[in-house]
């Protein structure tokens, strides 16, 4: 038996190629650090893809802890926080050098988290032990634990940082927590398997998506009343395939984007009339959403097509998809 090519040659080529890529990457970093970067956690690859916002090319793939899921950035965009669920910790990366800076305790199986608007502390949902863990990001100390419902997941914080909303998947509740006392002030029953909580910038609405229930409950944070339960209907898509997960609302508070899971669509919703304006076809099993810093673009992580879609916010059009690692979960963009 002979092979077509000697076994050594491809590896040498690969080495040369990767050396070239490294040189190109170094050159890129030497330039002004003003370009936008998008960080994507790849749940099945245990990596984080770094995409250059200008070229929309993956410039680096960082090896992370196991099963990276929730991802966010410090308010100044300098640090990237990642929940590495199977390593039971939060990893903090420098957004310029892409190096691991430190790790934070998180409690078991951290899935999603939210930073206080001031940048500290970090509120983490522990899926396995029905707790929200509060961690000081500077001292890496656990400050408190708040018992919540079963399988806590979604985390949203009010723009003034006073109210934290956690959702629990199995209990199907949105827990409103006073961040001054770390006590639950009210529990609101929503539809089955709530996944994400997102405040509108004027603090008048919290949107809570229910994956199995197929709805989004819009709650008034002052009265804890459900203002509206939004349902979704798409021609040619079965009701079971419509599974709302990620929610993002524009800073002007006018438009909400809701990722609909295996429906492979993102709903564009008017936050005053609650009417769905459009269903954008993105990638397979669209999961979480992130805006570019100037909000001109929306990024969607598509877990089954292993890519992110880029939506032009002004025209509500899907302009491109970029292949990342396996099972992209979350994304965050920094200037």
């Amino acid at each position: 038996m002979t092979t077509d090519a000697p076994p050594r040659r491809p590896s040498r080529t690969a080495r040369l190629l990767s050396a070239g890529a490294a040189a190109a990457a170094l050159l890129a970093f030497a330039g002004p650090a003003s370009a936008e970067k998008i960080f994507v956690s790849n749940e099945r690859d245990h990596t984080m893809s770094v995409i250059d916002g200008a070229t929309l090319k993956v410039v680096e793939t960082i090896k992370t802890g196991r099963r990276p899921r929730g991802i966010t950035a410090s308010p100044d965009g300098k640090l990237i926080y990642v929940c590495t669920s199977d390593d039971n910790r939060v990893e903090v990366y420098d957004s310029t050098t892409h190096k691991l800076v430190k790790t934070l305790p998180s409690g078991p199986d951290p899935e999603l988290f939210v930073l206080h608007p001031s940048g500290n502390p970090l509120y983490i949902a522990n899926e396995d032990d029905n707790m929200v863990t509060i961690v000081d990001v500077n001292t890496a100390q656990k400050l408190a634990e708040v018992p919540v419902g079963v399988e806590p997941e979604g985390m949203g914080i009010s723009p003034d940082g006073k109210i934290l909303v956690n959702t629990s998947e199995t209990t199907s509740m949105a827990h409103f927590i006073d961040t001054a006392t770390n006590q639950i002030v009210e529990n609101v029953v929503v539809d089955s398997r709530p996944r994400v909580a997102e405040f509108r910038a004027d603090n008048k609405q919290v949107w809570v998506s229910a994956e199995v229930g197929g709805t989004v409950s819009v709650i008034d944070p002052a009265t804890h009343q459900i203002l509206k339960k939004i349902t979704f209907e798409i021609p040619g898509v079965t009701a079971e395939a419509i599974q709302p997960v990620g929610v993002k609302i524009t800073k002007d508070g006018k438009t909400a984007f809701v990722a609909l899971g295996p429906a492979n669509r993102v709903a564009v919703v008017d936050t005053e009339t609650f009417a769905v304006k459009k269903y954008l076809l993105v990638g397979q099993r669209v999961w979480q959403l992130a805006f570019s810093p100037d909000e001109s673009r929306l990024y969607t992580t598509n877990g089954n097509s292993n890519d992110i879609s880029i939506v032009d916010v002004a025209s509500d059009k899907v302009t491109k998809s970029v292949t990342v690692g396996r099972s992209p979960w979350g994304a965050v963009a920094v200037p």
């Binding site: 029953v189 295996p262 089954n304």
Partner: protein, 244 residues
């Protein structure tokens, strides 16, 4: 003396079997759940007792667990074209695509697993060029055909996986019975060394091996519906990218 205990066990078992509908009652009868008692200035709506079986609002929307579904991947029945198609409704195209010769010729090529993605893309390119002014209508027919073929194949695979799971369950029951029988017959050394007993033992071991190997194969079989769905999505993306 043991009667009340036995009755309690039976009741607990019934509650367990009935699942969601009985679980809250079971909790109501039990001691006060710690989380259920609200503090004086606590939330108006308390956290429920820690019952994972509690009925959930909107929870009935999810299909009941299927005992014949052996895969880790959730069972997704037939695909909807809207999951991969944002163009005009496909109902009519789904009826008529076979009547178009060029479409009927190309569909089997692009849905074949052996066709490489770049080959499919090139073939769709040529098809779009040849269609000229009718490009959009023809591409719609092409997607309808590809979608229907992949959905049909996928449904057949789903049915196959369920058949496979039923066979595995029957085999596991057979192994259990064989083992029980062997255990009851294993009385003394003489019996255990008898050719008859050893033959039975060997038969049980073979069945166990077959069961294990089939279980391992299932991991790959379960990927098939997902792979076909991905292919349908990719083709949809390729086809729509060439439409005006």
């Amino acid at each position: 003396m043991t009667t009340p205990l036995r009755r309690l066990t039976a009741a607990a078992l019934a509650a367990l079997l009935a699942g969601a509908s009985l679980a809250p009652q079971a909790f109501a009868q039990g001691a006060q759940a710690p989380a259920a008692a609200p503090a004086a200035d606590g939330p108006k709506t308390p956290l429920p007792a820690p019952t994972p079986r509690a009925a959930q609002p909107g929870g009935d929307r999810r299909a009941a667990a299927d005992p014949d579904w052996p895969c880790i991947q959730p069972k997704v029945g037939a695909l909807g074209y809207g999951q991969m198609w944002s163009g005009p409704p496909l109902e009519q195209a789904l009826e008529t695509w076979r009547q178009d010769e060029a479409v009927a010729d190309l569909v089997p090529v692009i849905v074949a697993r052996r066709t490489k993605p770049e080959e499919a893309a090139a073939a769709i390119d040529k098809f779009a060029k040849d269609a000229g002014a009718e490009k959009n209508a023809k591409l719609t027919l092409l997607f309808a055909g590809a979608f229907e073929e992949l959905n049909t194949t996928r449904s057949a695979i789903l049915a196959g996986i369920e058949r496979y799971a039923r066979k595995q369950r029957a085999l596991s029951e057979k192994i259990k019975q064989e083992s029980l029988k062997l255990a009851s017959e294993r009385k003394d050394m003489a019996t255990q060394n008898s050719p008859e007993f050893q033959q039975k033992e060997q038969a049980r071991d073979w069945d166990t091996r077959i069961y294990d190997e089939r279980s391992q194969a299932l991991t790959y079989v379960c990927e098939s519906p997902v792979i076909l769905e991905q292919l349908a999505f990719t083709l949809g993306r390729e086809i729509q990218a060439r439409m005006d």
